[in-house]
Every structure is written in structure tokens, then in C-alpha cells.
């Protein structure tokens, strides 16, 4: 029962063991259905060299970013509204529950049927799947807004913008970050399904093509490439933002 940070090497055990296991089984089976890690790397290098990887990665990333931004914006507005107004919450909550439980696949199929196999249908399907999750998370945040600071803002006649940016946003920030984290993970998975079902470029489309010919090496190569990109976003973008925004918390602890 020791507290404090675990040793650094602790992070470097599980993944290498997993890869070693994969390599071992691949060597034993000698099957194209389970290529070795090296074979996957070679496929990855080849796809990168031909430019195919970057093209499909770019398209998928673009879809992820657009639908993510839309879903966050809509979900945040909805969440704040429902968290602050009991009436809005009562009216909209059943709809929210319905959409939370609607399988992503159903939304995608219906939108493709109704709108055709077009880009707006693809983006909209992802957005519809994500908005309820964002709204539920942000609603929790909006409900826990500090009423005492709200009174202060009223007495001192804060403008609407001052209230939003200086009083609410810092309080909602942890919830927005949670929604962002969960959002990215969920959205890129849904984007792949959307691409698989009705688009002719993107990682999902490539996975579809590889599936047709049981090309497991390509499937793994593209998946790994995208996982790497999402990890980069987490490390290079989200964590720095979080550190910056929660500076005031850390000084509070050290100053206490």
C-alpha cells in the first residue's frame, strides 16, 4: 500500500509483453491471418511510402475533427440549457435517453437511406451519436455550478459574456474535458463504421477493402496508425490544455 507516483518502468511492461505474445503466436501459426508485428510494420511503411496511408488518414481525421467540433458545440449548449432549466430538462430528457440508447449503426443506416451516401449524411450520423453523451456530461457540470458565485455575478452585474467565460467555463472545464476525451475515442470509432458503410475513402473504407480479401496485415497497420494519431492528439493537445487550465488548482494545493 504505497502512495505516490509508480515507477516509470511500470508503464513499459504490459504493451511489450503483448507484442511479444503476438510475435510468438504469429511465428507458431505461420498464417497470413495473423501476420507478425514486423510484417504489419512493413505493410505500414509501404502504405506510408505510397501516400495511401496519409490520404486516408487525412480524410478520416478531417471527419473526426468536424463531427467532434459540431457535437461538442451542440452538446454543450444542450447540456448547459438542460442543466440550468428544470423545464428544458423535463421536456428534453426522454429524447436524450432515446438517442443515448439508439445504436450508432441504426443512425448511420437511416441517414444513408434518407440522405444518400453523401458526406453530410456521414458527418450528421456521427454528430447525432455523440451529442447526447456530451449533453449528459455537460448537464452534470451545469447542475453543479456554484450558486454562490452566481449570486456574486448578479450583485456585481456581470455581463452575459463575463458570466459564461469567467464564471461558468472554469467550472465546466473538467466536464468539457471528460466529454472531449470520451468524445474522441467514441467518434473515431463511429467514423470508421460510417466510412465502411458508405464512403469511398478513409481508414474505414480501407479496412473494408482489406476485409474483402482477408488482408489482416493492412487492417492492423491502418488501425495502429490511427490509434497512434489519437494518442498524439491526447498527448500533444489535450494534456497541455488541461495542464494550462488547471494551473490555478495546483497552486491552491501548494499554497495551502
Amino acid at each position: 500500500m504505497t502512495r505516490g507516483a509508480p515507477p516509470r518502468w511500470a508503464y513499459w511492461i504490459a504493451l511489450p509483453v503483448l507484442i511479444a505474445l503476438w510475435a510468438g503466436v504469429a511465428v507458431l501459426l505461420q498464417s497470413t491471418l495473423l501476420p507478425s508485428p514486423l510484417a504489419v510494420l512493413a505493410t505500414l511503411a509501404e502504405a506510408a511510402g505510397s501516400g495511401e496511408l496519409w490520404r486516408h488518414l487525412g480524410v478520416t481525421l478531417y471527419r473526426v475533427v468536424v463531427s467532434f467540433l459540431l457535437a461538442m458545440a451542440l452538446g454543450t449548449l444542450l447540456g448547459v440549457w438542460m442543466g440550468r432549466s428544470a423545464l428544458a430538462n423535463a421536456v428534453l430528457d426522454p429524447v436524450l435517453v432515446l438517442f443515448l440508447n439508439l445504436p450508432a449503426l441504426v443512425t448511420i443506416i437511416l441517414l444513408y437511406v434518407w440522405l444518400g451516401l453523401v458526406e453530410p449524411a456521414a458527418i450528421l450520423a456521427v454528430v447525432i451519436n455523440k451529442v447526447p453523451n456530451v449533453a449528459v456530461t455537460v448537464r452534470e457540470g451545469a447542475r453543479s455550478l456554484d450558486g454562490k458565485l452566481e449570486q456574486m455575478a448578479r450583485v456585481y452585474r456581470f455581463s452575459g459574456w463575463q458570466r459564461c467565460w469567467h464564471v461558468w467555463t472554469p467550472q465546466l472545464f473538467p466536464y468539457l474535458m471528460a466529454a472531449t476525451r470520451g468524445g474522441l475515442a467514441l467518434i473515431w470509432k463511429i467514423v470508421l463504421v460510417v466510412e465502411l458503410l458508405g464512403r469511398s475513402e478513409g481508414i474505414g473504407f480501407q479496412l473494408h477493402m482489406a476485409f474483402q480479401v482477408f488482408d489482416v496485415a493492412t487492417i492492423l497497420a491502418y488501425s495502429l496508425a490511427f490509434i497512434a494519431v489519437v494518442q498524439l492528439i491526447e498527448l500533444g493537445l489535450l494534456q497541455p490544455i488541461e495542464r494550462r487550465a488547471s494551473r490555478w488548482r495546483r497552486t491552491e494545493v501548494s499554497g495551502a
Partner: protein
């Protein structure tokens, strides 16, 4: 947008006016509704209909809450800027409350007494016509409380037109700061008033309805 308020009626019918220069100490047992009355006066109590309180148009209020209620994620300078004080004026105000050099600190980096003084600086930043103080000396140790009392006395002397309503349960505060006492008692609470103006003996306190 209603925030959850109290459940049952705390205040009965209360009728009173506050004029410029009035220095009122609002006394009463804890839980009797002193803070509720203060909140009602500035329109923060959702249970009190807005027409029950008439505020002169454009009246500026400085409210020192029991907690500092500064934004914990903003520095003192940023907190003061939000009520319209520029950097120079903020520095002056902080100096006035004895916090020279603390402009770049966040409220939670300060002690309770310092944070309360910083909040007082924010009250002054709006150049208030009415200064509302909710238990300004509560949970401060004796020297800090005396210091703050001196500070507030000085502020009041410098701006004789400013009205003050100070919630307290300490009669000592009342005699140092006030020229009027308001007592709140009972449930629903009723208000009794008494003037302390030097020289003029006030008529016996009436129970207003």
C-alpha cells in the same frame, strides 16, 4: 433562472428604508434570517417578489459576502477588472485594504482575512452607494477582526454619503460602526429599529408592519 432557495418563510413583513449615510447594523440570533434579509434587499432571494424591494435606479451595491466569492481561478487583478477597475485603480484599492503587491495572487493563495479584505476591495471598486457586509468579522482571529473593523470605520468616515448595512451578531461591532440598529427576531422574523445617532435620543423602537 432560479437557484434553489430556502423552503419555508423565514422573514415576516419587514418595512424599512435606507437613506444615504445610514450605518445600520443588523442584529439577531443566528438562523433568524439576517442574510436572507440582506439577499432580499439586493434581489438575490427568489422567494421575495421583486416589487417588494424598491431600489433607486442606478444604485451601486458593494456586497461583502461571508465567503470571499472571488473567482478562485482568477488573480485579484483579474477579479477586480471584472467589476470595472483597471490595473492602476486595482493597485490603489488593494493598497487601501492592505494588500499591496498581492494583485497577482489568486484568492486561495491568501489567508481567510486577506481574502476577505480582497473581497472588500472589490466592493469598493464599484464605488458603492450601499455597502452590504455579511458577518465581516466572523471566523477571523481577534487582531485580524480589529484590523478589518478599523479599515471599515475609516472607509465609512471618508465617504459619509455611503450607506452601510452590516450583518453581525456582535453588539461590539454595532457600537463601533453603526448609527442605527436593526434587530431581527422571531419566526417569521420581524424587524425592530433603534437609532443611535449621537445627541438625538430616538423614540422607543417600534415594531413596523
Amino acid at each position: 433562472m432560479p437557484w434553489p432557495g430556502g423552503g419555508h418563510p423565514i422573514l415576516g413583513q419587514v418595512r424599512a428604508t435606507v437613506k444615504p449615510g445610514d450605518r445600520i447594523c443588523l442584529l439577531g440570533a443566528s438562523g433568524v434570517g439576517k442574510t436572507t434579509l440582506l439577499n432580499a434587499l439586493v434581489g438575490l432571494d427568489p422567494q421575495v417578489p421583486p416589487e417588494a424591494v424598491r431600489l433607486q435606479a442606478g444604485l451601486r451595491l458593494g456586497y461583502l459576502f461571508q465567503e470571499h466569492r472571488l473567482l478562485p481561478w482568477r488573480t485579484l487583478f483579474q477579479n477586480l477588472a471584472l467589476v470595472g477597475a483597471n490595473r492602476e485603480r486595482s493597485a490603489q484599492l488593494l493598497a487601501k485594504v492592505g494588500l499591496t503587491g498581492y494583485g497577482h495572487y489568486r484568492p486561495d493563495q491568501l489567508s481567510l482575512g486577506m481574502a476577505r479584505r480582497a473581497a472588500l476591495a472589490r466592493c469598493l471598486a464599484v464605488v458603492p452607494d450601499v455597502l452590504l457586509l455579511d458577518e465581516p468579522f466572523a471566523s477571523l482571529d481577534r487582531p485580524r477582526a480589529d484590523e478589518l473593523r478599523q479599515l471599515i470605520c475609516g472607509l465609512l468616515d471618508r465617504r459619509p454619503q455611503m450607506a452601510m448595512i452590516c450583518v453581525t451578531h456582535d453588539a461590539r461591532d454595532a457600537h463601533q460602526l453603526a448609527n442605527q440598529l436593526w434587530y431581527l427576531s422571531g419566526r417569521p422574523a420581524q424587524l425592530t429599529r433603534e437609532s443611535l445617532t449621537a445627541g438625538t435620543l430616538s423614540p422607543a423602537p417600534k415594531v413596523p408592519h
